[in-house]
Subunit: 408 residues, 2 copies
Amino acid sequence: MKTLKNIESSPTVKLDTNTFNSTDETSNMTDAKNHLPLTRANISKAHEIIKPYIHRTPLLTNTTLNTIASTPQSVSDLAGTPWEDSSTTTPANPKIRFWFKCENLQRIGAFKARGAFHALIRVIEEQGEGEVRRRGVVTHSSGNHAQALALAGKTLNIPTHIVMPSISTPSKIASTQSLGANVVFSGSTEPERTAVMKEIQQRTGAIFVPPYDHPDIILGQGTTGLEMEAQFEEAQQQQGKTLDAVFTPIGGGGLNAGVATWFSEPAKEGGKKTLVFGAEPSFEGADDCRRGLAAGQRVSAVSSKTIADGLRTPVGLNNWAVISDPSKVAGVYSVTDDQIKKAMKLVLERMKVVVEPSAVVGLAVCLFDEDFRRRVEEEGGDEGWDIGIVFSGGNTTVEAIAALFGAN
Amino acid sequence: MKTLKNIESSPTVKLDTNTFNSTDETSNMTDAKNHLPLTRANISKAHEIIKPYIHRTPLLTNTTLNTIASTPQSVSDLAGTPWEDSSTTTPANPKIRFWFKCENLQRIGAFKARGAFHALIRVIEEQGEGEVRRRGVVTHSSGNHAQALALAGKTLNIPTHIVMPSISTPSKIASTQSLGANVVFSGSTEPERTAVMKEIQQRTGAIFVPPYDHPDIILGQGTTGLEMEAQFEEAQQQQGKTLDAVFTPIGGGGLNAGVATWFSEPAKEGGKKTLVFGAEPSFEGADDCRRGLAAGQRVSAVSSKTIADGLRTPVGLNNWAVISDPSKVAGVYSVTDDQIKKAMKLVLERMKVVVEPSAVVGLAVCLFDEDFRRRVEEEGGDEGWDIGIVFSGGNTTVEAIAALFGAN
């Protein structure tokens, strides 16, 4: 296990203030005026900081999925979709080469480890190790952020309190506890959760590390983009060759905002920019970001039971500011739960890697959305596009897979 | 696609005869007197021959699985097993570090690609490209060998006939056909299958490429061991450091015999030898090899519906000669279908890679067999053992996973 010694000797940004202010109803981890700007340079610095603690996950290719994506959908594939009546046009015929960034193989099985380590180390830098160790940190999550913060706390020897709904999956509760976190149960509603968080903070002084809506989280998740750029260039053995596009899922939006920040400037001055896209489930309105962009206003509440359970959250404020900037995010698409299942089946059976439903929404857009596929055909031409897909996580169970694909 | 040009320029063994004899009831691929001896050197040559056509699959580690394997089983774990009455002894406490050879990520999703390419290229060397292309090759298989030979035939432009029971899974039939093979259906019994094979051979002159019981197949599968040895040494960054043990599944026995042939001599003169073990399912007597070793005589027929459907076959004659040699194979263990399911769940959920049930029998032995675990504790001591596990294949479907782990 790494100790804080490693951190202190690594090249980090030292801030000149060490203040702590409460914001809103919770003691937030950093004062707004100390926030690092969302830049490529700050993602590089975040990467230096978290590198000893995270995996450089592989960037995989798969010829079978390339072939499927580069084959036009049939008329029967398109029946029942918005494109079924294109009697005058033929289905799109794009040429696609995928590059899958396997954050399902990241520590705790999801990209969330990046943001959690970055945010926790930044708190320690700002407030001092002794202070943070004395007070501890707290968050609310029933999912991957819970385990990510628990792991970061265990690694850096900081007490961690995780508020989880008492109805959470027993396996998730057990994993979070096995990482040494103090799991505290709450009801499932927002007020119930907040009440428990407040109680913990009043009793312990614990500092809140939010799951997605914070610049330090965004910068941490953005290191995914940094690695993809480097790994693609290595694989091509051609300096300066860049991905044409990258897809990430959008739940709270931290991953998409981080990756979009990384690719907001070209790798080489005057070089080509990689376009960043987002993907969401459309089921019961979980495509809040896409709808918000269409309406010109962020949608602040979502209530959906989409199978992509990591993506049931509305986009956070900090993340919205990035994602709604068309110079940073080139478009957000949505897919049905049935399309998510089809994509997940292909990944498990053809690539032989386990992904959770949330991980494959970007792949599903590339396979099934005729508008996006037409864009690749038109802009990519004979050359086609190299498309990076972030597999955001792999935290599912064989029982959950059985529930999705069983006979019942 | 590679052409035969590549093959002919690669360093291969040229034989001085070019004869073809019929054996038994089928035209076999090589005359027995041309068989290459089962040696390390001939596996190295096989590797040179097939390298352009196969993946060098990764050798993965996983700390969670190491921790689970290095923790004693509890008394409740042992209830209902042969070790439940060990009231006088405590459960074994071995120290195990796993090295997973991911042949589930091999081409066509299984190690079978190695043997099929080697066998087909050897037939071409012996009988001439024109002759083999004119006659074609034939085999019977409802599983991974069917797809492996179909891929080799497609790659090397040789017509391939695959006899499959008409009750085979539609997805397997489709995959084999999509690789360009001529799939011919038969009944499910041995005589029905043989009749269809014979008819094809009489009509076309097709040469039989057996699924496992042939030296060229064994040498091809043995390249798995060659790669494991090299990859382990690379990962250790310590020349001459060897795995303590390697497990492979035993169905027909080609993989185990090949890997045991590779490790039958130490990597360095006077160095330590890697012990090779086999693993089988015990359900309905599918552990024919273990039973045969106990009785001192090969069991020649098996009828089992174990979930490890790749391991329902009795060990072939050539393979038995290797596996029953205690200087080559140090032991064969069996596990229950329930233990196979438990190991499969761990691999899918913790390692996030998809394996078929047959792939995890060796892992299941290391996790659950107290006799083997005691051996590691005693022989490995504080240092423990580095154990290579061959994940033989990943050809399953989400529906099959659902059937194994669903509520019903």
